[in-house]
Amino acid sequence: MIWIERQRAFLDFTLSSLWRRKVRNLSLLMIYALIIFLLSSVIFFTHALRKEAESVLKDSPEMIVQRVVGGRHSLIPISYVEKIDQIRGTSSVRPRLWGYYFHPASKTNYTIMVPEEFSQPDDTVETGAGVLRTWGPLWKGKLYFKTHDGEAILLKAINTMGDETDLVSADLILMSESTFRKISGIPEGYANDLSVNIRNERESQTIMMKTVKALPDTRPILKKEIIRTYISLFDWRGGYVIVLLWGALLAFFIFAWDKATGLSAEEKTEIGILKGIGWDTSDVLMMKFWEGVVISLSAFFLGVIAAYVHVYFASATFFEHALKGWSILYPKFSLRPSVNPYQLAILFFLTVVPYTLLTIVPTWKVAITEPDLVMRH
């Protein structure tokens, strides 16, 4: 109980002491909270995106077979389907027809695609929610396209995929095969790539090798690789955002260090007074410890709470610009709200602990001096 009373008394003094320079200390707290907010937003966001990619893309085709010509992805003849079909262990092989369409009016790239079954008329399209958000004005509910040979066609937007699937469908425009071939210019008998389903996932490596053997000009991509790409996609060790944020954090610590090492004459006198009236060195350090805790722990809580709200309630609005980059389309996320406690703990140890130490260490030298200095003037 004595211990608690002592700590609370030191906390009382620290708070009064900090409150004397409230504008300065509150702005310090806010800057610190902002940095923690940015860092934890990135951590939450990338964690959630990785989880999302894992659970969404597990339903991707087992294997995609591209044809490579001159080191580049090229059109694949549909005749390849049979050859792959003959490989033992494949259950279905299907040509995928997809491509990109640049709409000059909105300066946006869209993905045009032919679904396996498109039961609508040729002059209609189904669109992702992001398409209609960005396309610009429609003409009588119709989208204006230019075919590869320069002809203009109008396609009626009949169906929109909901916001919930935006993360995978925001820029999709689905259409019939004949319309697709007209717009994209991919000739009959060719497809963009082939999607292959495999009976037993464990055989995928063998089937991949057999595919390359049977068709040396192809490059198979396994689902495993796709998922791995996305898991390492937002790897925080690789992102420049993190580098920038660490820069910010470093700048903050330099600032804090400067503040802490340059104990003002006034602060030194105060420590002398405290020692003179009967405070022990450890009492002074304990009081300083609380000073560090008050700033850094408050900033940690505020920053993390704000980041959680930002990422999971506000769809990571602040990152929209960075993620969007030069593209126009930005999907609406509904990310799986989950936080990795391990990452949170790391953030805690990288922010709260060093700041608190930074507050205590410089005080040490002053606090161990003999208290009779206050008697001399």
Binding site: N109, E225, F301
Partner: protein, 99 residues
């Protein structure tokens, strides 16, 4: 007048509870809604045979990251500095880094 440390400790307690509530409770409450959307996304991925997330639509190799071939994504060579801002956020696909 309230003792300063009392006020501060109450603040810490409230902030801590809010944080814990968000981190441990909110995900559970949201799970049903989230799962509903996820099922739709998974369904669409299966039906259309999709391979990528629609995150960066600026270029074909950022839109379909996992499908990018050896040379087109990074223009001249795989580790070249990216042209697009999204390139500063993401690493080149792993199969390119490994070789």
């Amino acid at each position: 007048m309230v003792r300063k440390s009392t006020a501060y400790l109450i603040f810490l307690l409230v902030a801590g509870l809010v944080m814990a509530g968000l981190i441990f409770m909110h995900p559970r409450l949201q799970m049903v809604d989230y799962e509903r959307g996820l099922v739709k996304r998974q369904h669409l991925v299966r039906e259309l045979g999709l391979t990528d997330l629609c995150l960066f639509t600026e270029a074909r190799y950022t839109r379909h990251l996992s499908q990018a071939d050896l040379h087109s994504p990074f223009q001249d060579y795989p580790m070249a500095l990216e042209h697009f801002p999204s390139g500063s956020l993401v690493l080149p696909p792993e199969h390119l880094l490994k070789r």
